[in-house]
C-alpha cells in the first residue's frame, strides 16, 4: 500500500507544478454521506464530532482514497448559537442556504461609507438573530460560536490528521483560509442572488463602489487566517468558492464581477498565499479570464469541456474536477472506469491535474458505493505517469 508520505508528495508536487508519480485523486465526500452510510440521523448526528469521526473512520478504512473523506461536517450548533438565518438545517438534517436578503438597496451608502460599522451595527443582527439581543447576550453569543468552532475545529483537525496517518492518506492541507469574490459576498450575504442582479441595472454606480469597498476586507480577512505565521503557497491556500459569475451577462461580469475578484486574487497571492478556486457551474464562456490570474492557481471545475479547459487553463494552472459524479449512481463498473480513463487521457498529460468529481458526494444514496471503490482503484492504476 502507498504511504501517507507518498500520497502527500503527489499533492505537493502538483501544487508546485512538478509532475507527480501518478495523478492524485481527491474525490470529495461530504460528512453527511458518511453519517448516513453509518446509519446515523443527520438531524442529531451533526451536533458534535464523535459520530462524525466514527462514521469517517468506517469510510476511510474501507476505501483506499488519497485523501481523507467524509470528515468535515457542518456545525449546526454554531449556527444555532448565533441564530443564523443564512444557514439553516432542513427537515432531513441537511444544512441549507436560503436566498435571504439582509440589506435594503437604500443602505448602499452606509455600507460604502464604513463597511465594517454597517456590517456589525446593521447587517449581522439581521442575519443572526442572537446578535440582535441586548448586550451582553449578543457578545456571549459571538463568544460561544467562536469558541465552539475553535474547540471542535481543533479536535477535528487533530483527529483527521491521526486518521490520515492511520489509513495512509495525504496530509497536504487542502486549504488554510477562506475568502470571497467581492461581488459574491455582496450577493450572498447582503443583497441576495436576485437582489444583486437587479441592483446592477438599477444602481450600477453604487454596486461598483460597494464591491470596491468590500475588496480590502476580502484580502485582509484572508491574510488574517494565517494568525501571523509566514504563509507559503503550497501550505497556505486561500479558498474562493465562486458563485454569481456564470449567472451574469458577460458584459456585466466584466464590469461588476471580475475586476475586484482579480485584484483580490493578486493581492492574496502577492502576500505569499496559494489560491484554491471552486469554479461553480459552467465557465466555458469565461475561461480566458483565468489567464489574467497568477500562475498555478488550483481551480476546481464543475462542468465544461475537459479538452478545452485543459488547453486554455491547464498550462498555467492546476485543474481539479470534471468527473460526472452522477455516473456512479447509474453506470456499470465498466462505464465508470471507462469514463475515468477518458478524462485521464485528456487531463493527465503534463501534470497539474488532480482527479475529482464535478461535485462532492453529499448524500449516501447519491451513488453506488461499489462504483466509488472501482473508480478510486482505477485512477490509482491508470493515472500512473
Amino acid at each position: 500500500m502507498e504511504s501517507s508520505e507518498f500520497r502527500s508528495k503527489l499533492f505537493t508536487d502538483v501544487l508546485k507544478g512538478v509532475k507527480p508519480k501518478r495523478v492524485p485523486e481527491a474525490c470529495g465526500v461530504n460528512a453527511c454521506a458518511a453519517l448516513e452510510l453509518a446509519g446515523y440521523d443527520l438531524r442529531s448526528a451533526q451536533y458534535g464530532y464523535t459520530k462524525v469521526l466514527e462514521a469517517a473512520e468506517k469510510l476511510n478504512a474501507k476505501y483506499d482514497t488519497d485523501t481523507l473523506i467524509g470528515t468535515w461536517p457542518a456545525m449546526p450548533y454554531v449556527t444555532k448559537a448565533i441564530g443564523s438565518r443564512t444557514n439553516v438545517m432542513g427537515a432531513d438534517g441537511f444544512m441549507q442556504h436560503p436566498n435571504v436578503h439582509i440589506m435594503e438597496p437604500n443602505e448602499y451608502d452606509a455600507l460604502i461609507r464604513d463597511p465594517l460599522k454597517y456590517m456589525w451595527d446593521e447587517q449581522m443582527p439581521r442575519a443572526f438573530t442572537e446578535f440582535s439581543e441586548p448586550w451582553p447576550n449578543n457578545a456571549f453569543a459571538l463568544m460561544k460560536a467562536f469558541l465552539m468552532e475553535k474547540e471542535v475545529g481543533m479536535k477535528m483537525f487533530m483527529a483527521n490528521y491521526e486518521m490520515s496517518l492511520k489509513y495512509n492518506k495525504s496530509t497536504t492541507p487542502v486549504l488554510t483560509g477562506i475568502s470571497r469574490a467581492p461581488f459574491d459576498y455582496l450577493a450572498d450575504y447582503f443583497r441576495s442572488f436576485t437582489g444583486a442582479l437587479t441592483d446592477i441595472r438599477r444602481y450600477p454606480d453604487k454596486v461598483l463602489k460597494a464591491v470596491e469597498t468590500l475588496k480590502p476586507l476580502m484580502v485582509r480577512g484572508a491574510l488574517a487566517s494565517t494568525a501571523g505565521a509566514e504563509p507559503t503557497r503550497e501550505g497556505n491556500r486561500i479558498f474562493f468558492a465562486l458563485h454569481m459569475a456564470t449567472y451574469m451577462r458577460p458584459k456585466d461580469f466584466q464590469k461588476f464581477w471580475w475586476p475586484t475578484f482579480k485584484e483580490t486574487i493578486w493581492d492574496v497571492y502577492n502576500a505569499g498565499f496559494g489560491i484554491l478556486i471552486f469554479a461553480e457551474e459552467n465557465w466555458m464562456q469565461l475561461l480566458d479570464c483565468f489567464d489574467e490570474l497568477p500562475p498555478l492557481c488550483h481551480i476546481m471545475f464543475e462542468y465544461g469541456d475537459a479538452k478545452i479547459i485543459k488547453e486554455k487553463v491547464g498550462k498555467k494552472h492546476i485543474i481539479q474536477g470534471l468527473y460526472p459524479v452522477d455516473l456512479l449512481k447509474r453506470g456499470s463498473k465498466e462505464e465508470v472506469t471507462a469514463k475515468a480513463k477518458e478524462l485521464l487521457d485528456v487531463m493527465a498529460p503534463g501534470g497539474q491535474y488532480i482527479f475529482d468529481f464535478d461535485k462532492s458526494i453529499l448524500r449516501a444514496k447519491q451513488v453506488n458505493w461499489d462504483n466509488f471503490g472501482y473508480l478510486v482503484d482505477c485512477v490509482k492504476e491508470y493515472g500512473k505517469y
Partner: protein, 59 residues
C-alpha cells in the same frame, strides 16, 4: 517591509471601529512610549475582527 505587510497596508480598512495611533493615545491616555505595543495589540484585535467578519457570515 515584507510583501505580506505591504499587501496589508495596501488594503488598509478605514472604520470608526479602528482607531488611529493618535486616537488610541487620546482615548486611553496611553503613555507615548507604550504606544507601539498598544498599537500591536490593537492590530491583532483588528485582524481578529476582520477574520470574524469574513468567516462569521459563512455560518
Amino acid at each position: 517591509m515584507s510583501a505580506y505587510n505591504e499587501i496589508k497596508e495596501k488594503n488598509k480598512i478605514y472604520s470608526e471601529y479602528f482607531l488611529s495611533s493618535e486616537a488610541v493615545l487620546k482615548k486611553y491616555d496611553i503613555d507615548a512610549g507604550a504606544c507601539e505595543d498598544i498599537k500591536e495589540s490593537f492590530g491583532l484585535v483588528e485582524d481578529m475582527l476582520l477574520y470574524f467578519t469574513l468567516t462569521t457570515l459563512s455560518n
